[in-house]
Symmetry: D2
Subunit: 362 residues, 4 copies
């Protein structure tokens, strides 16, 4: 039932199979008169594209964005913005065995049960290639947030397997993330993570981890109780990213080990501005932003495509084994960083566009 | 922007302030010709209502449901079902100090920033009293799921502070949950939890914990990629419950400590049915159910209402202190169990009603 | 599929069967800090209520509104506003024959085919009694439009059967409508219409007619191309009123007898404001308001409940005859005037709340 | 606010400016395993494309459809279908004068007031060129309706200026429409219409008219009261087509000249099927289809682009005159026929996909 649209005011609709002709997105509800260039979008796509370095899949895609509508002379018209990226490096032959077998922990079986048909080559729509469209739309959202509202969104790799980075959330800057190929702002941890990813890849195995993200500079008052709370929408948007298994905001699962008297964030006033001393709330109270940094974490499972032999069943229900070949990431986290930022940007901008209304009515 | 409606086909709209005249819900899109009685709804409201026992708030509400439309002679008409619960035990005087002060980690400040006005008494709409409406609607969803689709949803208290219950998910039954006032199916842990809650209450403090939930008997094929994945919608619905800080499904945050070769769920076929050997996926793959049990966990923070003195600010921005009085739960988890079940039921039923369409088109 | 909600930002959900306990509406998305009293709503319900005079149904309902949530101390909180009207004068016995027979041109047959069940007494949800809820919500929308945006909406009876009123749209005022029981601002035509309605009623027959409506004072820039054009949404809202058969805006069906050179509305500038000389566009161009008066017309069919014998079929498919008794309006138009105004107000306010966003982004 | 998406289950999102790179549509929610070829879509685009004959605009576009996603090996996957048509014959120079002047009865002024920017060349998004996308999506809807549900939709030109065709709705067939370039199934009237259009074009003027449409073979039970009635949604979809000024269903505005006793459609039973003797209802009762033919009519205004001198204002508010050049249709009706069919198909299919759910629950 039409699950390919996200957002209420700033609304994106994505399309495209992994090995089809192209992938793309239509962005509806973008404010008019905003300067958006292909470069604004391309620089984010370049962070997500495959084949950037030796810890990523070998698939080669330039992922060049084409703006087909909604922008004239570099400015948005207020009409739908259609963005398209042609697929180029599609290798059907790696997928022959998959015509008859379901890959474990992939979406082969569930898509087949749901639709009665599936696009074998490249995993079709269930491939993370669809996130190209999210990042393209997210690039526009990020630019508007930064320029119109002074909001910045920074995601980073916090943990890979058992290697945990040491990060000071108050000091982390966007450019720190891009200093290494793991996208972890703790250089020592980054080195260890890279090494672990390489050794895991050699064994034909995969690893997961945790991405952290902070949204800085948000006004108080965003979020629509009771169901469309800021953290509820954020959670949905993040849990819609392929391979995610968990979401937590502020103190997260750690809150269970704190008493109310420890967990509560005291208010204080300084220079006519109200702040909280601690930020266990993670920037949201009662589903509405309070003006503090919004920080959250996401768990990504190890990629399902491994290269050792696995037990599975055929499309006709017989037990069998499968040994995959092909090109895949041993760890999705470095490329998932701009995807997490994009989803957070889409949610935040949507609430900004909704929230303005409320303020004008006071 | 209209955040009080949830669902696409089975669609609920809730209303009502904590100390207003009443709280209620309109359920639109309920299938016709279904038998629904007031008792079906009341038995779930009774699980959520305040004042059930000594570890809960002393507020006394019978929370009696009134069916105002949509059901005639015990059967649904297919028209909107309007349910109403009158508020009775509302004590305004406990809230006088709150006219000028914001309670830490409550929604007082954010509601004021968003709306420029707030309902002081009882916290208005930000109070968890609004969940009466969710449980009333959830009772209908649970009944339809059970009778039409043989789906059962069981939530339980998994952890309070540092006390972790030992639970076999494959064996837990609905009635096991109701055997003690903590709603924890491990009797030994339940005793300890009760003791801890009582001692915490005596100190005027509060504790949080983890609720686990399993959805049993779901067909494969539910969920709408790419944004409206089963786990994404589930996550949103759960994170819209007051006091939640985290959501995880299947292996959850634990997935980061597993290799792909350990995490993958092998398929096997037995008696013409396809199953997975392990269930790290938690019953969803690629955003679509695979027919295995769906299990997830939710973190609840310690209740923000504590009775020791706290630092805060006044509505005009001056630093001050606040010492609260009144009636509050020292631990929300036992009463939150039916709320978690209700949200899971609303999401699952909505996908069932959407999913049928796809199957007819094959 | 949940057809009981209208609007995107100012969003109403209505409920209630004609002979059930009550009818009501939940208004979500109303701006906060707006003064709304029961009287604001009651005065509009009084215009719609049955039994006002001798040309209406004899059903006696005070239609007293109860505000159950969303308003405290006379001001909106920004939370859902729940309005309820108890049903009082319900007479089941008039409906016994209808258990087995379908009334011609009523919704008995179609509801039965759709839902497999129907509320016999009073026509259930297909009765125009559901419009109580529309008028209650519309009263709030009208007040906000008038006080915040200086927009006025005036509907009136333009034609009953072959009696056409002579009305100068530029001069008609709200109070002119209420000067007679037909709600036609041409006193001579009103007299003839009243006479015709009375004589038709005596014969047990019914008549239809045309309601005209003008929306005065709208800003340019409202409407969301390409599908959610101002006139498209307006058309949907109006055609959702029971008994409507046609909608036209501006020149309407009359446009076919004009050449482009006659139909085009020339622009001219006067005192720094841009206007059109003629207004065949009816205040909308390209789906967006241009600042001129928006005027439209609606055709209402003669009421289906007549008191002569009619051919029909039974629920089991046998040919039969039916002779109805009961209390019904011989002509719905006078009571439909506030309903048309309400729907126009809901649409206009919704666009105002959407439209503000666009302006802030310029 | 995101007005470029239509439908709830079968959901289309259109994009593209008239003189931009391309126009297109994303179709989400299409059932899987349906055979759809480029030819299925192309044949409908060919009916809409410009330059088909001497009574149309001279703009030359092949309007060749490209299927970019959602269909593999000729079958739908259940994933979004992305369709794209490149723009080729775009002539910017005709629009130079329009940089500073608003065309009367066009959307130049309103787009400028709404967005603060507009795409001068070709009218941008306000041009009827956007309907390419509607017809492409409508072609898929029409095919599914015909093959899965045996529903046929036939639109035709009923009236041009004062020339009214004589049409027997029960006998009209799809191929009759295509027998002449006016798309009027009454050959005599068609000849006169063609002659009138040609002579009007010579004078640099334009004419409007009425398109009729019939939906044959619809099941009873479609439509979602109270707001999403079949005729309400249909009305919105039709009134969203550029240049429409009125919509009527069944007896339409003619209903006002009938008494209830004349207007009511008696039921009768024949061979175990229930029918109505007359069809003033136009196939809908209480907002739900009753199984009879659904017939409706639409008024199209004369095209706003005329070639005589007109009074208007400049962008800076000065009175001026404008004399347009360029390529335009003297009468849009022949090319609007497939557009009306497309919108009717989109609405009908959407209700079919919703309606199935209700039936399974009985």
């Amino acid at each position: 039932m039409s699950g390919n649209t996200y957002g209420k005011i700033f609304r994106i609709t994505t399309w495209g199979e992994s090995h089809g002709g192209a992938v793309g997105v239509v962005v509806d509800g973008c404010p008019s008169n905003i300067e958006i260039s292909e470069e604004d979008i391309q620089k984010e796509l370049d962070r997500r594209k495959p084949g950037q370095n030796h810890i990523q899949t070998a698939r080669q895609e330039s992922d060049t964005v084409n703006i087909l509508s909604g922008i004239v002379d570099g400015k948005t018209l207020g009409t739908p913005i259609s963005l398209l990226v042609w697929n180029k490096d599609t290798k059907g032959k790696d997928y022959n065995e998959l015509r008859t077998k379901f890959r474990p922990s992939h979406a082969d079986y569930t898509y087949f049960k749901k639709y009665g048909i599936r696009d074998i080559s490249g995993g079709g729509r269930s491939s993370a290639r669809e996130t190209v469209a999210r990042v393209a739309a997210g690039a526009i959202a990020k630019k508007i947030l930064k320029e119109l509202y002074q909001v910045e969104i920074i995601a980073y790799v916090k943990q890979v397997f058992d290697i945990v980075a040491n990060i000071n959330l108050n000091k982390v800057r966007g450019k720190d993330i891009e200093r290494n190929i793991v996208r972890c702002p703790d250089p020592k941890a980054a080195k260890k993570m890279e090494k672990l990813i390489v050794s895991t890849k050699k064994k034909g195995d995969t690893v997961g981890g945790i991405i952290g993200c902070v949204i800085k500079g948000c006004l108080p008052g965003l979020g629509e109780p009771v169901f469309d709370r800021f953290e509820a929408e954020l959670s949905k948007s993040i849990m819609s990213i392929p391979s995610t298994k968990g979401f937590e905001i502020g103190s997260g699962f750690g809150c269970v080990y704190m008493l109310g008297s420890e967990h509560n964030d005291s208010f204080y006033s300084k220079k006519n501005k109200i702040h909280t001393k601690t930020n266990n709330s993670g920037g949201v109270q009662g589903g509405i932003t309070n003006g503090e940094d919004i920080y959250f974490r996401v768990a990504f499972k190890p990629v399902a495509t491994i290269f050792s032999e696995q037990k599975t069943v055929t499309i006709s229900g017989e037990n069998t084994v499968l040994k995959m070949e092909g090109r895949h990431d041993p760890c999705v986290l470095p490329r998932a960083v701009p995807i997490v930022e994009s989803m957070a940007a889409l949610v935040t901008l949507d609430f900004y566009l909704m929230g303005q209304k409320k303020k004008t009515s006071l």
